[in-house]
Symmetry: C2
Subunit: 209 residues, 2 copies
DNA sequence: GCAAAGTCTTGACGACTGTCAAAGAACGGG
DNA sequence: CCCGTTCTTTGACAGTCGTCAAGACTTTGC
């Protein structure tokens, strides 16, 4: 498992980078705990216990709990942004793009279940805690753009055009994905296959030839 | 404001009914607080404070916190089940059904924002707390059937058939609605209109003439 | 009208939370 | 090597949480 807190080849890190690396290391550890327990049940002490640090260190690098969570969310954002970009860039046929998209979708559903659970949790929490709202909105925007890149490229390869706007397309795909995440949490059996079947059902309806 | 704990005209209530009425009154009060604060920030004392009862009463009628929340969820379920049934039964043309559906959808978005926020919160929590899972799954099932009644009736009035299965249709509609609820929580301006526009965009694509 | 059952209030408990401050360790420049 | 800065540990704080129990009040059955 690679850590983002690796030192440079020179063995030294500049001061500002060092504290940034600590923050990243803490965020990664916190995300692991958050994904396991959810926002409500995760305490700073629990985060510290599941890491190599003590609970005092957390407060040395983050002003308070919201600051930490907020940082985690922003850090997480950078990871899921370009998850599908490779598929979009390499696919040369509609089928290839569709298959690649579905494959990546089920892969992330299975391999990063905890992160997705956490995302839907945090999005719900943002409706009650306005301090989370800005970060959540930003991630939603990012995901919407990602879906739009896929859909418009898919239409382009078919010599067609998307028949819905970006926000609608994202809401539809997200609805299917969240359903799969909830179902997967309840019983992993068959959830990925059902997701593939349903997305495959819907995707052709979102373009006009 | 009518309470579900009204006494019968005779002024007496049977023993079993009385405790059931208390539970309902407590659940309604709890739902108000839950919708305002969300699952994580709602304590039993807060529920009691926002009601006419003391915190001891809560524990007299409910074994523990999960028992109360679970009861609230089941109680809430019965209210949203037949929300759209009237529209389905009275509409005689596709446009009438579509318009009625959209009108009810935006109405409940605006008037019952808190309840919807709570629902998406609880569904997310159910992925971490398995005690909530059964109730959440039951409600999801109910909502899926509701959407299916609308869509299949809509298709019927058009002399057509739905082009997606019930689970897919529900996931799509739910994705659009959740997007609207989140957007509405952030900024109520225009969210209902955007929801109408998007659902109107999608609905025709879910049937094959 | 009295005893028994049911209902409610009050106060307490142990555990947990976020936050902070003071003491200690590690480190780097002089 | 030593001293000042940076980092870390530890322990404590005030508050809140869910839970429970002992007693007071109310209703019911006879």
């Amino acid at each position: 498992m690679s850590s983002a807190a690796d030192v440079t080849p020179a063995g030294r890190v500049s001061g500002i980078d060092k504290i940034e690396r600590r923050r990243i290391a803490l965020a990664e550890s916190a995300l692991k705990t958050l994904g396991e327990l959810g926002y409500a049940r995760t305490s700073l002490r629990e985060i510290a216990n599941n890491s190599e640090f003590t609970h005092g260190v957390v407060h040395y690098y983050f002003r308070d709990k919201i600051d930490l969570i907020s940082y985690c969310v922003r850090y997480y954002k950078t990871k899921c942004a370009q998850r599908y970009d490779e598929v979009v860039e390499t696919a040369t046929t509609p089928d290839e793009l569709g298959a690649g998209f579905l494959a990546k979708m089920t892969q992330t559903l299975v391999e990063e279940t905890a992160m997705h659970r956490l995302w839907y949790d945090l999005r719900a929490q943002s409706m009650f805690e306005e301090q989370l709202r800005a970060d959540v909105v930003a991630i939603d925007q990012l995901l919407e753009e990602m879906i739009w890149r896929i859909l418009s490229r898919y239409a382009e390869l078919l010599g067609a055009k998307p028949s819905v706007d970006a926000a609608t397309a994202y809401a539809l795909m997200d609805g299917l994905f969240e359903q799969a995440v909830v179902a997967f949490a309840d019983d992993p059996t068959g959830a990925p296959e059902r997701l593939v079947q349903r997305v495959g059902q819907v995707l052709p309806k979102l373009i006009t030839t």
